[in-house]
């Protein structure tokens, strides 16, 4: 997945300026930068969640399998099934655990009960949650702990089997143990999924990602292998940020 010269405006104010960035297959790409730098906006434009905010417009292209996702041939519903998203605040539906995971499948038209159950189990296993919830699949999802809820949201996103998984600060509201579990999970997921993760936490970026992109004031300053960005950045601004001089 790749963005080319993507500029996105809220009204007339540009939130991101001419960003060109590739999210490589089966790699974890971390988007870092100070608050308001446009990294979340960029992430949300990858599955067109920004369409929901009135007054946004864009120029440039975002390619997924060589097709511009804004092309008329691309249906936004199909796009979002291929590019899943996990949000900063866990947001399970007030339904049972099972129904939460099955939601994307049901709206996609899957009716066969056995197939649904199979996919739910697979997704929950994929999100390393199965063992914790297998005995209470039909209890409300709101009874889970914060970390479990976030993993449930990941399972829910995995259930529709997307190619790309976007994560918007998925662990920022969690305690260290739950965060570690999520990070471990990201590690496992990257063998099957292409992942882009926005994070505030530079240690986390360093731990989980293969590539890191540094955003500043709506622009992409630098992008490269994570190790290089953190040890030997090309840009002064990147160095200042990763060494904690501002941000």
């Amino acid at each position: 997945m790749e963005a080319r010269e993507l500029t996105l405006r809220y009204g007339t104010k540009a939130a991101i300026q001419k960003v060109s960035l590739a999210i490589l297959d089966r790699r974890v790409t971390a988007l870092i930068g100070p608050s308001g730098c446009g990294k979340s906006t960029f992430l949300r434009s990858l599955n067109r969640m920004n369409d929901l905010i009135p007054g946004t417009n864009h120029t440039g292209t975002i390619l997924l399998d060589d097709t511009d996702i804004h092309d008329r041939s691309v249906d936004v519903v199909d796009l979002r099934r291929r590019v899943g998203m996990v949000f900063q605040k866990s947001n399970p539906f007030p339904k049972s655990i099972f129904e939460n995971v099955a939601y994307g499948l049901r709206v996609g038209g899957m009716k066969d009960k056995a197939a649904l159950a199979q996919r739910v189990e697979k997704s929950l296993r994929g999100a390393a949650l199965w063992d914790e919830v297998k005995d209470r699949l039909h209890d409300s999802a709101l009874g889970l702990s914060g970390g479990q809820q976030q993993r449930l949201c990941i399972a829910r996103a995995l259930a529709v089997e997307p190619q790309v998984l976007l994560m918007d600060e998925p662990a920022s509201a969690l305690d260290p143990i739950a965060t570690a579990k999520i990070e471990e999970l990201i590690h496992e997921l990257k063998s099957t999924y292409t992942i882009a993760i926005v994070t505030h936490n530079m240690q986390q970026a360093a731990r989980v990602s293969d590539r890191t992109a540094f955003f500043y004031m709506g622009e992409l300053v630098e992008c490269g292998p994570t190790e290089q960005i953190f040890t030997n950045p090309r840009e002064k601004r990147t160095e200042d940020y990763v060494t904690g001089k501002f941000g």
Partner: protein, 335 residues
């Protein structure tokens, strides 16, 4: 998707664009159809309002187009004093007598009398009650007060009319030594019961919208809670309270059953509260049942309906403008 040249600027190849899949097209069409139906449904509210005024006015139109009706009930006969044999009042509403008399003045007087009485009672009760709930009442009491007011608002007006007729009329007659049990006073007090909840609720909303910081600033300057409420909170919420009163006024003008049951319904012009009164709304209710469809009298009743519609419409617009203004000022929002 695994590309080299990741940071290259500009398009390196033309995007490959197949047509939209049939499933996606069907889905998009279905979504459009659903959105269309929902939008169409939303039109009902506007349509209803337009149909109401159009069809009520349509039945009244004969007064202006039909020569016979125009003769029997001209605007001057409705609103100006008529030459009548000596010793008889010049304004009468007797549309079914041999020589129909169609002056609306007694109806206006009757409506005004009952409405003013109700406002004199309901405004202080509602506004001060709301002030108490918003400023002084302990939280528990306030949480009890609101449902109680909602219950009062939930009493059907016919029940309030019944109460005014069966209970209040006797009490009022004894207290004020009126000649007749059914009069403008009883009807007005009955109306007050119907509009107190409106005034209370809207006032309370306006008062609670006043930011806490206003109160804290005033209290910090050494004002007592009462002075804070009176000099800071009340003025800040004033347009909202005015709106509450206007809404209550509109409700009182239009309310039918209470006045119909408790006012006595005589077309007298008198400013005494002990006399019977006939309001615009009650006139429609009382006479529509016996009227010949299409007759001048019938059109007259619809014409009264048009007037009621216009009065309340204007009052409502005023009230909603003021409410919006107070909310905008207090929340500081641009919306």
């Amino acid at each position: 998707m695994d590309r080299q040249a990741t940071m290259e600027q500009g398009l390196t190849q033309t995007a490959f664009a197949p047509a939209l899949s049939p499933a996606a097209r069907r889905r998009q069409l279905r979504e459009k159809a659903i959105a269309g139906i929902i939008t169409l449904m939303a039109f009902t509210g506007i349509a209803a309002l337009i149909l109401i005024i159009v069809f009520v006015a349509k039945e009244a139109l004969a007064l202006f187009t039909d020569p016979a009706a125009r003769h029997e009930a001209s605007l001057s006969k409705m609103f100006l004093a008529q030459d009548v044999p000596a010793g008889r009042p010049a304004f009468r509403w007797q549309p079914v007598s041999k020589i129909p008399k169609v002056s609306m003045i007694p109806l206006f007087v009757g409506t005004l009398k009952t409405t003013v009485v109700s406002m004199m009672v309901a405004v202080p009760l509602g506004v001060f009650g709301a002030l108490f709930a918003a400023e002084f009442a302990p939280r528990r009491l306030r949480e009890l007060l609101k449902p109680v007011i909602e219950l009062l608002a939930g009493i059907p007006s016919v029940v309030l009319g019944f109460f005014a007729l069966m209970v209040m009329s006797t009490v009022v007659k004894d207290v004020f030594h009126f000649d007749r049990p059914l009069n403008a006073m009883v009807a007005g007090l009955g109306l007050a019961l119907a509009i107190v909840p409106v005034i209370f609720t809207v006032s309370e909303d306006a008062l609670t919208a006043v930011p806490r910081s206003y109160r804290e600033a005033s209290l910090a300057l050494g004002a007592t809670p009462w002075e804070t409420a009176w000099k800071v909170v009340l003025p800040a919420a004033a347009p909202g309270i005015l709106a509450a009163c206007v809404l209550g006024f509109g409700r009182a003008i239009g309310e039918t059953m209470i006045v119909l049951m408790a006012s006595g319904n005589a077309d007298v012009i008198s400013w005494s509260l002990g006399d019977s009164a006939r309001s615009l709304s009650a006139t429609i209710a009382a006479e529509m049942g016996e009227v010949v469809v299409g007759s001048p009298h019938y059109s007259l009743l619809f014409f009264i309906g048009v007037q009621l519609f216009i009065f309340t419409f204007v009052l409502n617009l005023l009230a909603s403008t003021w409410t919006k203004r107070v909310m905008r000022r207090l929340t500081g929002g641009a919306a």
